[in-house]
Symmetry: C2
């Protein structure tokens, strides 16, 4: 299948302060973003793709790196010419969220007020804060209304938040492998990850940049525990089982099993490119997301003001955000008589399935966007008429 | 219900070297143990209770502590006068395993060969090594054959190993909430725990005793992640849900949710009494247990030499060692035409259920031991006749 090819990130600076849910304010900030495809004349074909924990604005296409390697967008199988979200038709935007570590203003950046990196003083941001920041980007890009806002996992939370905070700006809301709120178990795993980082002596209270170190060990353990929750038990059994790295037990605390080798490698690799303060921030954004909270726990009330149509997708072996969590959203939407399509995909790959190729999943999304496109053609012909 | 009352641990020293599965040898060693009830004349009523990860020889009864507090045995609800394992009838033995940190020879003890604590040089011990050490204790206590060997989780693995290593010495084998081998996911969680300990700078390569510190942070994170796997998702949702500690989001990295408070407390408490080197050793013993491995993965072949009758118990919401893992054992026993009773208890408390009161669970075990007792009465009347 074709790819978009070589893409370049763009930068937008926002001089106006952004008030946050916490009561704090970010004085000014920069967002990194990418766009694919062309915005049509009626500005009716824009789709915002929101990223999850460790991803970025680099949704699709490739960066040509100096050493000949390529950095492919995290959802390149979903977004591109002829792909389910077809960039021959749609104008797609990926944006790196505030507090992340891929170019948008975050803990690694200098706080103009102090002349030092924000570090742990970077304010705790929420899904809703991100959406408000994204809305300003949409304003600057001249997009009054999105054809769709889409995301998986934490990205799906942003799509949901868009439908609630800016109901008139979202025609379709595509929420994949997400949840209306984290469970106690979800929060528990996040807190293990945070504790691993916070207690790493190289964390230095969040000011590790000044010490020329990173809390690599803590971040690596955090990633390992996270990674376990992304894979299904069955998938892990299938891929790794009890395969030994060196044919026999080593009777030490090094690596015996392939699964250990894999997870430690994933942890190490992650700790080399991801920022620990960002990891803390993003896990908190996950924990705090709970739109029903302001409505006495009633998700239907929280979604009552939405105007979008919804596509929800979940995966059978996802035990992080299990299908029943998506069904809660579907039921709350149905109670509001919203139009909603729900697909529960029987897939072995756990939570990670939302990033992987699965023909039923891809066809479901493709088909949905086919209908969104027909709507847009209707709008266009109305404009022309 | 009555308790055994005040009990005291006993000590047995073994001067003969113990060869280990790894090829290493422990020159000499001490085992801490406790006994409850009386050994009958025919020595036919002895039951060995094997402990799991963080428990000890202190199975039942209480220690009167100096400050007026009581230290109750970890399975006091199961073992005692009139309890499912009735100490008015049975002579029950609890023994602390080699490498543990409750009195039996372990990493904290002085290695006579070096004059220093073993630390990380304590040999990696396996479930089978423990069973051989326990068998020597049984020899010393004059018990040629146990009426039953019993354990939950890792303790259940020891009971299984007894039935395979000493088939003629085990009449009944009671295996609760256990598994024939750890899954990739089980191993993955154990390795996260180990990595948290090994990368804690206070671990000092296992020689932290000499530095006057303990790797408290690493051990605490290890316990947190372990603890999550002991509780069911539903139980955690029921007990903690998204309850906030201080009524509202704190927008920091301290404690927001009750589940965080609970887990951090559990982690801290554990790291104050448990030894990190022991934690490493015991997680390895768990990972390595795989009796089918020497039989090309065929569990039925591994169990072919057993002579015991079996009781297997699992719990519906246990996702650490799920019911299907117990069913694998049952099926392998059935293929060998062993007598086996299997109870799958519908209980909400996850893996921890094996330590908790549940009337169906308790009645199942009580009923099983009732039959064991009838057998013993038969043996006794035969002796008297």
């Amino acid at each position: 299948m074709k790819s978009i090819g070589v893409v370049s990130p763009q930068v937008m600076h926002f001089a106006a302060p952004l008030p946050l849910q916490s009561g704090a304010t970010i004085a000014d900030y920069t967002l990194m973003y990418e766009t694919y495809g062309e915005l049509n004349a009626s500005r009716s074909n824009a789709v915002l793709v929101c990223h999850a924990l460790n991803a970025s604005h680099h949704v699709a296409g490739v960066y040509e790196l100096q050493d000949g390697k390529k950095n492919i967008g995290w959802w390149d199988n979903m977004v591109g010419p002829g792909k389910p979200l077809d960039t021959d038709k749609f104008f797609v935007i990926g944006v790196n969220n505030l507090g992340s570590c891929f170019g948008s203003t975050g803990p690694m950046h200098i706080n103009a007020a102090t002349g030092k990196p924000y570090g742990a003083s970077f304010p705790v941001v929420t899904v809703e804060d991100w959406v408000h920041a994204q809305a300003r980007l949409a304003d600057e890009l001249g997009i009054a209304q999105f054809a769709a806002v889409m995301g998986g996992s934490l990205g799906g939370m942003q799509a949901m938040a868009w439908s609630m905070l800016y109901p008139q700006r979202v025609r379709h809301c595509v929420v994949v492998a997400s949840t209306p709120k984290l469970s106690a178990q979800n929060i528990a795993f996040n807190d293990v990850a945070r504790q691993a980082i916070l207690t790493d002596p190289d964390y230095h209270g969040g000011d590790y940049y000044a010490h020329g170190v990173v809390p690599k060990n803590g971040l690596s353990v955090a990633r390992m525990v996270g990674h376990i929750t992304y894979l299904s038990n069955d998938d892990m059994a299938e891929k790794f089982g009890r395969e030994l790295r060196n044919g026999d037990y080593q009777f030490g605390f090094g690596i015996d099993f392939e699964i250990e080798s894999y997870l430690r490698y994933q942890g190490d690799k992650f700790s080399e490119y991801f920022d620990a303060n960002t990891y803390l921030l993003i896990t908190k954004a996950l924990d705090y997301f709970d739109p029903a909270r302001a409505f006495g726990g009633d998700l239907a009330k929280a979604l009552a003001g939405t105007q979008a149509e919804f596509l929800l997708v979940s995966f059978s072996t996802d035990w992080r955000f299990a299908p029943e969590r998506s069904r809660e959203i579907v039921q709350a939407l149905v109670r509001n008589k919203r139009r909603v399509t729900y697909a529960e995909i029987d897939a072995p790959h756990g939570h990670d399935a939302f990033l992987l190729d699965d023909s039923r999943y891809m066809r479901t999304v493709e088909s949905y966007y086919g209908n969104v496109w027909k709507e847009i053609e209707g709008i266009e012909s109305g404009v022309r008429a």
